[in-house]
């Protein structure tokens, strides 16, 4: 296997008496989609939040792109190439889709502190942002306020923003949540392509999507990874069936 781009080493996090992450060790290698699945409240989002730098682990460490990132904040980790989407869409609601993506493009160019030239007349900035929207089939919605977009469009917009960061890894927290079957199918196709650009750590409840996309699956229950392997191995794993797959079925709800 190639060298992992992202590695967590025994990440642990407690919230009072609740152990949200219990020595979570996982990695992400170039070209793959690594799905993190588990029942509600199992601690999937907590792992994403610790990797993204939103919350700090109590112990353990995170390596990304060849360095230790434990001391870096969310901004610095994003600058290093960690692109994240949220379980509940987080966009600038008064901005158009295009403006939302432009923010990411100017950030990558490290050209945010430009005070006088109008951004909306900046052709290269606009063209790049537009290309990312096209990729997510949002080009005809580029000028709609993000707050006025449909739920599915906002989910896709977040991925377009993540894409604009030209990341070294994607952290996608339930990108399919609340989407209809048609949009889910489109998104599966897009994510399938996306892994060539950068590997994806995918938290997802939609098991059809997970088994269609994932190269590897890790199952997390009560903050602990109980199994990790190829989709076939996970499907065949008795412990996983008992803890998760068996009783939750193909319920796509978040």
């Amino acid at each position: 296997m190639p060298e992992p781009i992202l590695q967590t080493e025994k990440l642990s996090k407690r919230f009072g008496a609740v152990v949200a992450s219990d020595a979570v060790t996982l990695d992400l290698v170039p070209g793959e989609i690594h799905a993190l699945i588990g029942p509600n409240g199992a601690g999937k989002s907590t792992v994403i939040k610790q990797i993204a730098g939103e919350i700090r682990q109590d112990s353990g460490s995170i390596r990304f792109a060849g360095r230790d990132i434990d001391r870096l904040d969310m901004v610095a980790r994003a600058q290093l190439g960690l692109a994240r989407t949220f379980q509940v869409s987080s966009v600038a609601p008064e901005f158009s889709g295009l403006q939302n993506v432009m923010l990411a493009v100017q950030s990558v160019e490290r050209k945010t502190f430009r005070f006088l030239r109008p951004a909306l007349k900046d052709k290269p900035l606009m063209t790049q942002a537009m290309a990312h929207l096209e990729r997510l089939l949002l080009d005809d919605r580029a000028h709609v306020r993000a707050g006025d977009m449909s739920h599915g469009e906002r989910r896709a917009l977040e991925i377009a923003i993540a894409l604009a960061l030209k990341p070294k890894a994607f952290l996608l927290d339930e990108p399919m949540a609340g989407m209809g079957p048609e949009n889910t199918a489109k998104l599966i196709e897009i994510l399938d392509d996306l892994r060539a650009e950068a590997p994806i750590l995918l938290v997802e409840h939609d098991m059809d999507a997970v088994f269609a996309l994932a190269d590897r699956i890790s199952v997390i229950v009560y903050g602990r990874i109980i199994a990790s392997g190829t989709p076939e191995e996970i499907r065949a794993n008795e412990e996983v069936r008992g803890a998760y797959l068996g009783d939750e079925g193909h319920d796509g709800a978040a």
């Binding site: 993204a52 904040d73 969310m74 901004v75 610095a76 994003a78 600058q79 692109a83 994240r84 949220f86 987080s90 966009v91 600038a92 609601p93 008064e94 901005f95 158009s96 295009l98 403006q99 939302n100 432009m102 923010l103 990411a104 100017q106 950030s107 990558v108 050209k111 945010t112 502190f113 430009r114 005070f115 006088l116 030239r117 109008p118 951004a119 909306l120 900046d122 900035l125 000028h143 306020r145 923003i161 604009a164 960061l165």
Partner: protein, 327 residues
């Protein structure tokens, strides 16, 4: 095609220019003074609008920057007029009565104050931010009261208005022209800022700071930069205000002044380029009409403000121009 807001902005700019000219023609110098006051307070509000409007930073401490600008003008002028240098060691620094020197000093001093106050205050948000900016401004206020060298509680008089090359600043029309040009320049700068990449990030920080951080732009740095620019404009306005009144006192630094500047912005409309100027004009007109009828005019102003906030979030300009266009 010109948007409705642009047309209204043009009208406000023209109206503010016409008022003192008419005042001059009809020999009503008081009108010129009022128009000058509108221009100066509009400038202070234009500064606050960058922090409050675009950046969503509800600062109740902008009197600190406004007052510091005023004290810079007062202190430099008093040293110059008394022939007392400010410092003798390590360098000889003398006072000055030149506006072209006073302004940059006022801008730098208020900018540094905004950098310090902003860097500490921006670690909080919401009500805590309001309270901490208020607290810092009150610290400066009490410092001014308790420092006897520059008048303490009694304030500091500027006997002769500071000078501007080629103009007679004691001529009310000349002084108005100076203030008006600076106001228009500040509004122009606000326009450019709001449209720029920096403006995109600042507006983004207001709407969703988490989103900004997630794309790798520090909301703290963006907001702090805006807060400093905002404080600098308020400081310049303060220097002009000191020259208008030929007097500086701690009241320029009081929370009451912070509140007034905020009222201008909200009354006129946040994130509207001419909003603060319209707000200042409305405030001063009401003060000088209703204020003559009843000393309880602030009660009416309060009611008006509540109505505006409840029913017209865009202030007066919002009512006249409708919702702003996005993207």
């Amino acid at each position: 095609m010109m948007t409705r807001e642009a047309a209204i902005s043009l009208l406000i700019a023209a109206g503010l220019l016409a008022a003192p000219l008419l005042g001059n023609a009809f020999d009503e110098p008081f009108v010129i003074t009022l128009a000058t006051k509108v221009a100066i307070l509009g400038l202070a509000g234009t500064g606050l609008n960058i922090a409050l409007g675009y950046g969503g930073m509800v600062s109740l401490g902008h009197a600190a920057f406004f007052g510091l600008g005023g004290y810079v003008a007062g202190i430099l002028a008093s040293h110059a007029l008394n022939y007392e240098p400010l410092f003798t060691a390590p360098l000889l620094v003398e006072g000055t009565t030149q506006m072209l020197i006073i302004w940059p000093v006022a801008i730098v001093v208020s900018g540094v104050a905004a950098l310090v106050i902003g860097a500490l205050s921006l670690r909080t948000t919401g009500v805590f931010f309001i309270m901490i900016t208020l607290a810092f401004a009150q610290m400066v206020y009490y410092f001014a009261i308790s420092w006897p060298a520059y008048g303490g509680e009694d304030g500091l008089s500027i006997y002769i208005r500071n000078e501007f090359p080629g103009l007679n600043t004691l001529n009310p029309l000349h002084f108005f022209a100076i203030c008006y040009v600076l106001l228009i320049l500040a509004i122009g700068l606000s326009f450019l800022l709001s449209q720029s990449r920096f403006g995109l990030a600042l507006n983004g920080a207001r709407q969703n700071a988490q989103r900004l951080a997630t794309v790798g732009i520090s909301p703290f740095r963006v907001k702090l930069t805006a807060f400093v620019i905002s404080g600098m404009m308020a400081g310049l306005a303060g220097a002009l205000y000191a020259d208008l009144n030929r007097f500086v006192s701690p009241s320029m630094l009081s929370w009451h002044t912070s509140g007034e500047i905020m009222v201008f912005v909200i009354l006129g409309g946040t994130r509207r380029l001419f909003g603060p100027t319209a707000g200042a004009a409305l405030y001063i007109v009401l003060e000088n009409t209703l204020g003559d009828v009843s000393e309880h005019w602030l009660l009416l102003l309060g009611a008006l403000l509540v109505a505006l906030v409840l029913f017209a979030r865009g202030g007066v300009i919002g009512i006249l121009a409708g919702q702003p266009r996005h993207a």
